[in-house]
Symmetry: C2
Subunit: 425 residues, 2 copies
């Protein structure tokens, strides 16, 4: 027996308080349920998944109140911001299969916002499931669709676009949208969760509400909003081209690298630094990107043959070299003969490449490597994909890759005497 069938049969709706009469009886709020499992939120806050069969019954104790209503029932709240929620999948929009314990992406917009009724109380929310995939399956084609959909929403009146996204590749997508969208008429906020939203410890709710709050500001950038620390105290606003997932499981896994976050959100939004203001123009999409670009982290033993294969089978290569931007000297000749742009970033992640200090760096420069400045390797990858969509001329590529476009390059990073990083100019 499928959960949806049972729910329909007994006239229940998600949000209703029900009694489930199965092998054992349970009372709780009916949550989005899938397959042959009914999910209930118990009084103690925990969710439970109960396997049902032909004999299972549901008794509705109390209909859900309208204020926790589904998205399809939203009324227009006068004077409140309009938020477009474009869901792509990921933990923030996922549910636990209680038979296997594994997490699957959710399928409907209702699934996503269901556990955050505050969202529909404070904002005019339009929701849409654009994809329903785990973010490790995101590719350039998804970025294109998402960029177009985001621009469409901004250009048809949304004050902000909130994009629930799997955390695994969220930073790659945020970089891609940063390069592909211009003249943003409102903030574009990628938001994720490290714990799925039907768990009591989920960070989905706070991150979604924090993201929505940016609709009340004049921010006009692509950002990632995630927990600032492990407890539910505040979220941080990370620039889309500077953020990286730095922990497999902690809620404050996302860090701004080579800079500080743009700001923080708790009861109010506080900006730490300058940011691009929203445009009064029209949001423009440039979705031309070259997909055949590779990212290679150098390691001792990486063979010239392997590197040569990579160069020959791509239109561009980003190397995450060692230290200030180095690779073993047996790769330099391949770089010299390459007909494609090769960008150098650092696997240290923090700091800036500088290829004028050591002989290897100088040899690499003279072989034609383009220094990636203080860009993250992952950002350099996405930027090169974008740049190769715009031009095939090597000198233009070099210029675009070494100049800041959307905050991905600091013009100069200085470390002061106490080791604090300062961004100058």
């Amino acid at each position: 027996m499928h959960a949806e069938v049972l729910i329909k049969k007994f006239g229940a709706e998600y949000g209703d308080e029900i009694e489930l009469l199965s092998e054992k009886n349970y009372t709780g709020i009916l949550m989005p349920s899938h397959n042959d499992i009914i999910t209930l939120k118990l009084k103690n806050g925990y969710n439970i998944g109960v396997k049902i069969d032909e004999k299972s019954k549901i008794r509705v104790i109390k209909k859900k109140q309208e204020k926790t209503g589904m998205l399809r029932n939203i009324k227009h709240l006068k004077g409140k911001p309009v938020i477009s929620l474009i869901s792509t999948g990921g933990t923030i929009a996922s549910y636990v299969d209680y038979r296997t314990g594994a997490v699957h992406p959710a399928l409907t917009a209702e699934d996503i916002t269901f556990s955050v009724p505050e969202l529909t109380e404070k904002y005019n929310v339009k929701a849409k499931v654009l994809f329903s995939i785990l973010s490790e399956d995101m590719k350039a084609g998804h970025w294109r669709k998402l960029a177009k959909e985001t621009a469409k929403e901004l250009n048809s009146g949304a004050d902000a676009v909130v994009i629930p996204h799997g955390t695994d590749t969220m930073a790659y997508t945020s970089a891609a949208l940063s390069f592909m969208l211009k003249n943003l008429t409102g903030p574009v906020i990628l938001v994720g969760s490290q714990r799925s939203s039907d768990r009591p410890s989920s960070d989905a709710s706070m991150n979604l509400l924090s993201a929505a709050k940016l609709s009340e500001t004049d921010l006009g950038e692509v950002v990632v909003v995630m927990h600032g620390e492990s407890s539910d105290t505040y979220s941080l606003i990370h620039r889309g081209t500077r953020v990286r997932k730095m922990h497999t499981s902690k809620r404050d896994a996302f860090k701004t690298i080579n800079g500080k976050p743009i700001g923080r959100i708790d009861n109010e939004v506080k900006f730490f630094q300058d940011y691009r203001k929203k445009s009064s123009d029209k949001t423009v999409v440039n979705d031309k990107i070259e997909e055949k670009v590779a990212l290679i982290y150098f390691y001792p033993g990486l063979t010239p043959e392997f590197f040569d294969y990579t160069v020959k089978n791509n239109k561009g290569v980003v190397i995450a070299g060692t230290g200030l931007g180095h690779v073993s000297s047996d790769l330099i000749e391949i770089i010299r003969n390459a007909k494609i742009p090769i960008i150098m970033s650092s696997q240290c992640l923090n700091g800036r490449v500088n290829m004028n200090v050591y002989s290897t760096g100088r040899d690499l420069l003279s072989a034609g490597v383009i220094p990636g400045e203080d860009m993250l390797p992952e950002t350099a990858l996405v930027k090169l994909m974008y740049v190769l969509g715009q031009t095939k001329k090597m000198e233009e590529i070099r210029k675009m890759m070494t100049q800041n476009m959307v905050g991905e390059i600091n013009s100069r990073t200085m470390v002061d005497m106490k080791g604090r990083m300062q961004t100058v100019g």
Copy 2:
């Protein structure tokens, strides 16, 4: 005119106070000099490089004092530890070419210890230049030679082996030595510098002295000793299998990942946690390693063709997957068909892979991926090279890769409620 020729002609020695009579005249301590440049340490602490020609002259003002003597003149200091210094190159053992401003590896043991006379005052130092390369050119063959040389020194009476090494790949070498050396009869300390030793701001001196101090302890592990913060206050002792260079240029670039450092060194050595004690047995080398192992950082757009090529051309592959250990689902079939071990680590670097949470992870496990637990991707690479040197049997490989050998795997990493990481069991 070559510097060495001029120095010899006027009977000067490194360490002497001299006056250099060239186009302009300079007074200072004669430093190791190369090509046609004489390097002087001026009274203000700065080094200067002066181009010489046929007309240049040297006047010795004051012969160097014996206590700042060269390594070849060392007398045995009774009751003091014996330290073997095996230099491999890198910034710590490098000099600046004052014509180009580029840094080159030094060529002699004298070059290395010259600027740290305190070393020869406190310890019985044996020095040797094993290689003179920048560390990006280190390969498995170098690791083998270095492991054998290190064991030889420990087994012939050295209380500690100190290995000056380029910082770029120092963490790979420290992991390699950690796996290849057993029953250490003393500490093996890799030490580097982020600023070359003939600059006033160099960290070489403090790091070398800190490393040497470990000869007075009962530590029997391979460790990395580098600055704990940007100023010259203390050095940290990092376990060889847990350390990563996390900044391109800061002096405190090295961080212990997924744990805390073993201890710190200032005037004394303070241990923060348990460590392996030195063995009273004999140090043993196992230098069998398989070189054909690749490390791949996954990114959106990594093609099945590229991954297939990598799998087909190697004896083992380590993936730095996203998040808890994922790749796009179009790679899973290649993994299922692979005849070689494929290890999953995380590009988040911090935290542990867990492939039981999401459907992709479960699919990867069922396809045969071996979870790399909380090992760094780089450590997993080196460990797989070592393990494949020991056995070709898949079940043995799996067992060895998932069990802790030398501190590279914590049996369980917990994040407590405040987000502090705890290592349990």
